[in-house]
Subunit: 457 residues, 2 copies
């Protein structure tokens, strides 16, 4: 790979991008390109793309916007296979930028080059071995999620948010910001994600669909094996207007798009938090067999709130089998009635470990329960050394029944660490958990459904 | 104060409550009471309430439920002024418990004692000098918020959540869990909060209003000087049913209650996160003069999402004055148009400090902007040593214009610390920020409105 516009100033995008590639452990050769020559990060700088001694698979272009067109032309002449144009100020900017973008598109098309951008934070792929982005990530975690985004900073913000965490990091095999789409668009990206075995969950941030009919048709095929989660803002007129000035996208009728997304079995996220929670739920916990939720809680009030959210999101509070009621009831003081939600606070005061070993187990063993929501107060009362072991056993015994944890209180961090790697998503808020649970359940129910008609858009 | 049922076992509620009072720095005398006698935490244990050598202002009762009635009777005989009955298993439990609660209520009424509970985590007051609760708080922060709750664990969970944080802690002067309400109910509590100067913001968690007419009438008076935020779950049938088994509350018609709350100018929170965000917004940032929001962001996509949320919550994206557009435009590269939301990413790449010193200042100086929402990527690009100074100056220059910060990314924690104490609420999600901003704006608009009619309930 080459980085055209590589810089020796540590704060410049052309430096951070090069450093990310080098430090990320990219296994191939890396060539900085800058007419000034010299050495950056111990690498010899080529003064032009023509001086690179081998065929370039992918060239990142990080130069001023007036130089971009000539660099793309140079890449075409040099036989570069793909370019990723990071520079902004084209289709989303002024008249000059719009005009210039058309010229770039023409060069790319004529040369038959693969092109990403312009106006992109770049592309991260190979499970994080190629961190071709100017966002400084502290580390990168590989995993089953692939993300496509249409916008400069969003993909970076999302990935940065994830990779900055110590726990509950979602593993991402590829994150591609297609920017202004002179070449690769969301359909090409979806085709690629669909074919890769390592991709099991797909997320898209899209302000506007370039070709809604093709995207939806393809997505409704892909979703039979891989969930496709779409975050598409611009629902209100003012959001749509902000979007127009941001990516130059035209507003599309929101109600129509909404209906089409759901008709084609795609999962629509409401905002960033929702997007991340749903991706985490799919990649950690998997999909439930049905809509019935068992709830265990250490606060009756939080159980009431959870029941509300469950019903509001179209899920059901499971009716428990008598055996389950008996097993949970046996943990409780004699005056308390067992039910769903099961309020285990008093039970935890008697024997905290039993609430997990017996209470959680009873819920998951119930054939009416498809997934478990645990809203816990992370306080010393319920703390015990076998916390991780108990969750390991629950996940092993009931692999088909997702467990979602909501943690409140002082020990939240320690408990979150305790379940790390067990496929248990942890949330700070019940609402986030229930929305993610509902998304996975809706997806599971509609996975094999074929849309009856392809509406005209 | 006395703690009846004080225990020497560190995990028992009767021990934790006593320890919280002692360690919390309660300035008066503390008397543990337990027939076994001995010494707990260095304090001589009295074998009964009659042995306490002075008149007891407040006795906490933390004994088995079969002993509660006789302890309340003993308190009445001994001339105890107030009791706080922590023990659960009464009105919310079985037939025996319901019956027993009536007997307790009769004793309390006849003796003219103030009574809180039963089924309560206790009462925290005097700005945290009296931590009369069995929840083990790491520390307590005094401040302008008073919280009333109707349920055992909820108030504890909320306060624990707050007090476990290192930053953005809301200061709480009193948190009272009225439990099953044999004595003090929400009306009595609201009367008390209304009269105290140190209380500037009031929050209530209520599953059922004991006397809706009196509560609403009083609240619509109180709200002229102090916002009253109500979290009342049980909106769906299943939530209502969970509530019935939790506090023994009857479901009240949700639509009617909702209409009444809003008609009387109360702020209704949706869930715990919302409740806390709104309380924080009132106590940190204060109320805006109108509904117009200025948005600065470091990601166009996040600006689009913010615009959506603003409109959805009934606020407006402010139309900027030409002067503001010029000042912000001067920070941006020539191809970018300044507007609202103002996407300052490219400007930050040029001069990060100017985005705050000039960009934020321009927004706040605009007479069309009532409050500011900043959705920031906390990345090294925008980092600089004067971060705290810049926010101090913005808050000092525009004291009447609330600033709400949403932070994404690796430096979030450091930036959150940097604005500590400046009255700037920090959120992890735009949605939470906008909901809180909308709640403060709606409150400000309706503060002086008198409800035209008191509907029958």
């Amino acid at each position: 790979v080459a980085v055209i516009g590589a810089s020796s100033s540590p704060e410049k995008a052309g430096h951070v991008l090069l450093r990310n590639i080098v430090q990320g452990g990219f296994p191939g050769a890396v060539y900085p390109v800058n007419p000034r020559g010299g050495e950056i990060l111990g690498l010899q700088v080529c003064s032009s793309v023509h001086e690179v001694p081998t065929t370039i698979d992918l060239a990142f272009i990080v130069v001023g916007r007036k130089q971009v067109l000539s660099m793309v032309e140079a890449c075409a002449e040099a036989g570069v296979r793909a370019v990723c144009i990071v520079t902004a100020g084209f289709g989303e900017g002024d008249a000059w930028g719009k005009e210039e973008q058309l010229k770039i598109a023409a060069v790319v098309a004529q040369a038959g080059m693969i092109a990403i951008g312009p106006n992109t934070i770049g592309t991260i792929s190979m499970g994080g071995l190629l961190v071709g982005s100017f966002v400084p990530f502290p580390h990168w975690q590989d995993g089953p999620v692939a993300i496509g985004a249409q916008t400069g900073i969003f993909a970076g913000a999302v990935a940065l948010e994830l990779m900055s965490r110590d726990t509950q990091r979602i593993g991402i095999t590829a994150s591609v910001d297609i920017g202004n789409r002179v070449g690769i668009d969301e359909v090409a990206l979806l085709e690629d994600f669909a074919l890769r075995d390592e991709v099991r969950v797909i997320g898209f941030y899209l302000e506007e669909l370039a070709d809604p009919r093709r995207f939806l048709k393809l997505a409704s095929e892909v979703k039979r094996t891989k969930p496709v989660v779409v975050l598409r803002p611009g629902r209100t007129a003012q959001g749509a207007s902000a979007s127009a000035s941001h990516t130059g996208s035209l507003a599309q009728d929101d109600a129509v798009i909404d209906q089409l997304l759901s008709q084609h079995g795609l999962v629509r996220a409401e905002d960033t938090a929702d997007f991340l929670a749903i991706l985490r739920a799919f990649s950690f916990a998997g999909v439930p067999a049905g809509s019935n939720v068992g709830v265990v809680t250490y606060s009756g009030a939080l159980g009431v709130i959870a029941s509300d959210q469950i019903v509001r999101e179209g899920l059901d509070v499971a009716s428990l089998e008598q055996r389950t009621i008996d097993r949970i009831g046996a943990l409780m003081p004699d005056w308390q009635l067992a039910g769903n939600p099961a309020d285990l606070w008093s039970a935890a005061e008697i024997d905290p470990e039993a609430t997990l070993r017996v209470g959680f187990d009873a819920m998951l063993a119930d054939s009416n329960v498809d997934q478990l929501l645990a809203v816990m107060l992370a306080v010393p009362n319920i703390d015990f050394p076998q916390f991780r072991d108990s969750f390991t056993e629950l996940r092993t015994t009931y692999p088909g029944k997702p467990i979602h944890l909501v943690l409140h209180g002082g020990l939240s961090e320690r408990w979150t660490s305790a379940v790390e790697g067990l496929g248990v998503p942890v949330y700070a808020e019940t609402r986030d958990a229930v929305r993610a649970m509902a998304a996975t359940a809706r997806y599971a129910a509609g996975r094999d459904r074929v849309p009856t008609a392809h509406m005209a858009v």
